[in-house]
């Protein structure tokens, strides 16, 4: 099996760091943003940002598939 590229994995770790490991940094009510508690707003923000990270990873993997002859 072809292993995924290191840069794609690094991009995938960004949402993990933001939504999971760093919880104690953002799990708070204040400051409220857009009328939402900070922790809820933070997670919603990252739900939107995660597809951007993964779209970038997709482009990297697609380019590799094109040049490297597939899996």
């Amino acid at each position: 099996m072809r292993k995924p590229s290191a840069s794609a994995i690094a991009l995938a770790l960004i949402p993990f760091a933001a939504m999971c490991f760093s919880v104690s940094l953002w799990d708070r009510v204040e400051p409220m943003l857009f009328g939402l508690p900070f922790n809820l707003c933070w997670l919603i923000g990252w739900i939107v940002l995660t597809p951007l990270c993964m779209a970038w990873a997709y482009r990297i993997e697609a380019a590799r598939n094109a040049s490297g002859g597939g899996s």
Binding site: K3, W46, I47, P51
Partner: protein, 491 residues
């Protein structure tokens, strides 16, 4: 008509339309095993999207999450994180699983283990753990339908008869069309769910507080601790959050039915594109959170948090709207339930009964046995739903503690040629035993950490250590570029 009658007729109409669409989708095709389980591997991005979304947004997200938001608060946020991160994980594993699945004609998760490890004991073990976890997930859906119908009937229909009716509808639905029916009904169900979620999540705060912002401001003033972790719980803090998000996002695609769903895709690229866009769907869950938090202030003191969402709807909106929400909720339970029961019965007939008891069965006989098993497994879930009482969210976490134990076997099986069968068996048995032991002895969370996650760590460690202790496979085998070709195909 009485409010209860209006409400129930609306639900019945919605479920009837859903079932009719499912029936029409399935009726024109001959149902062999390949059609029934993976729909001939012909689904494009859109159908795979609705099929997978249909399996993601279940009674758990609808009633379970609103209930936890209401009764526990902050820790419920784990759901937003884990669903998003599960798609990130899927980006790396689903296309690879699809690739080997196509090459070896796999239809189920156990097929994967059979081809990769070539060991009947391991295959049977994976099968049994998978079926057990699916029955728990099925129980969750049936319990959910029972709650919806009894509230919608203004307590005129008891929970138990409601659940029995749900099961009969479900079995008919599955017999009619297999996986293709489910994908098409998902489209209706998701549209209704989105409308209901928006109406409730925006409408309720607007009605009682003049908007989402003022609602949160009121809640932050009255119960600020409810909005953060550990919320209203003694022990669901940050360690629990991190371990639970890891367990569930890694375990997400270990559910046997997601293997099946992945095999319905037309290409590996379909799955990779899906993984990129799917997180956006998680946004719809935010509205369920709004509704749950609103209920904290508007209908405080309910003994059963699972009634919170529907009680709120019932006292705020006309009966026909409660019917629409209830109908959406029933479809939301039935669509995934159909998939679970379909997957579990196929696993039983194809990967447990045939190899162990009757190796000479034809595919058609297996398909027939699978249909019979649907009734048996449905009845078991119904009994569990009637006789045990566990919260919806906790039922799902029990299931996750089980299926996530497949993770080392699947991921190391895909990427690491050295992993051995005895290592995977050791890890799986230890992982499942540890998880079951900790949960049954009420040690979940254990020192603040999710019990299933502890079991998964132990499992992973054992698989790696035992594999490294085994002799290196001979060099001719290493020369093969496909580790799935190393072993002779059996069964």
């Amino acid at each position: 008509m009485s409010p209860a009658a209006i409400c129930l007729v609306t639900i019945l109409l919605i479920v009837g339309v859903g079932a009719a669409v499912g029936f029409l989708a399935g009726v024109r095709r001959r149902m062999d095993l390949e059609q029934w389980t993976v729909a001939g591997r012909g689904f494009g991005v859109l159908l795979v999207f609705v099929l997978m979304a249909g399996e993601v947004y279940t009674t758990f997200s609808f009633l379970g999450l609103s209930s936890w938001t209401y009764s526990r608060g902050g820790p419920t946020l784990y759901a937003l994180a884990y669903l998003t991160l599960a798609y990130v994980v899927s980006f790396f594993i689903l296309p690879e699983i699809w690739e080997v699945g196509r090459r070896h004609g796999m239809q189920t998760q156990s097929d994967f283990f059979r081809v990769r490890y070539g060991n009947r004991f391991l295959t049977a073990l994976v099968c049994i753990v998978g079926i057990a976890a699916l029955v728990v997930y099925l129980q969750l859906q049936i319990t959910g339908i029972g709650i919806i119908v009894s509230i919608a009937s203004f307590d005129g229909i008891g929970r138990t008869p409601a659940m029995a009716i749900a099961l009969i509808l479900l079995v008919g639905f599955v017999f009619a069309g297999g996986v293709r029916a489910v994908a098409w009904v998902s489209v209706i169900k998701d549209a209704l769910m989105l409308i209901a979620a928006l109406a409730i999540g925006i409408g309720m705060p607007l009605l009682y507080f003049g908007g989402v912002g003022p609602m949160f401001a009121a809640l932050a003033a009255a119960r600020p601790a409810h909005l953060t972790m550990p919320g209203a719980t003694p022990n669901l803090g940050h360690a629990w959050y991190v371990s639970t998000v890891l367990l569930t996002s890694l375990g997400f695609y270990m559910w046997p039915h997601f293997f099946g769903a992945a095999f319905t895709a037309r290409s590996a690229d379909t799955l990779r594109r899906n993984a990129v866009v799917m997180p956006l769907y998680t946004l719809s869950l935010a509205f369920i959170f709004f509704a749950g938090f609103t209920a904290v202030l508007v209908v405080p003191g309910l003994s059963n948090g699972e009634l919170a969402l529907l009680t709120l709807v019932r006292q705020s909106f006309p009966p026909w709207f409660l019917g629409v929400v209830g109908g959406a909720g029933v479809l939301t339970a039935m669509v995934p339930a159909a998939i679970f029961i379909l997957t579990a019965s196929t696993l039983f007939a194809k990967n447990l009964y045939r190899p162990l008891v009757a190796p000479v069965m034809s595919d058609d006989q297996v398909a027939r046995l699978a249909r019979g098993t649907v009734v048996v497994l449905g009845s078991i879930s119904l009994c569990l739903a009637v006789f045990t009482s566990t919260t919806l969210v906790y039922l799902l976490l029990i299931g996750y503690a089980g299926v996530s134990q497949f993770f080392p076997g699947v991921v190391l099986g895909l990427y690491w040629p050295r992993v051995t069968t005895p290592a995977v068996v050791t890890g799986l048995v230890t992982g499942v035993t540890t998880a079951v032991f900790l949960m049954l002895t009420h040690r979940d969370p254990w020192f603040g950490v999710n019990a299933g996650f502890l079991a998964l760590c132990l499992n992973f460690l054992l698989v790696v250590v035992v594999s490294l202790l085994s002799p290196v496979p001979n060099s001719t085998a290493n020369a093969s570029s496909d580790i799935f070709e190393l072993r002779p195909s059996v069964g």
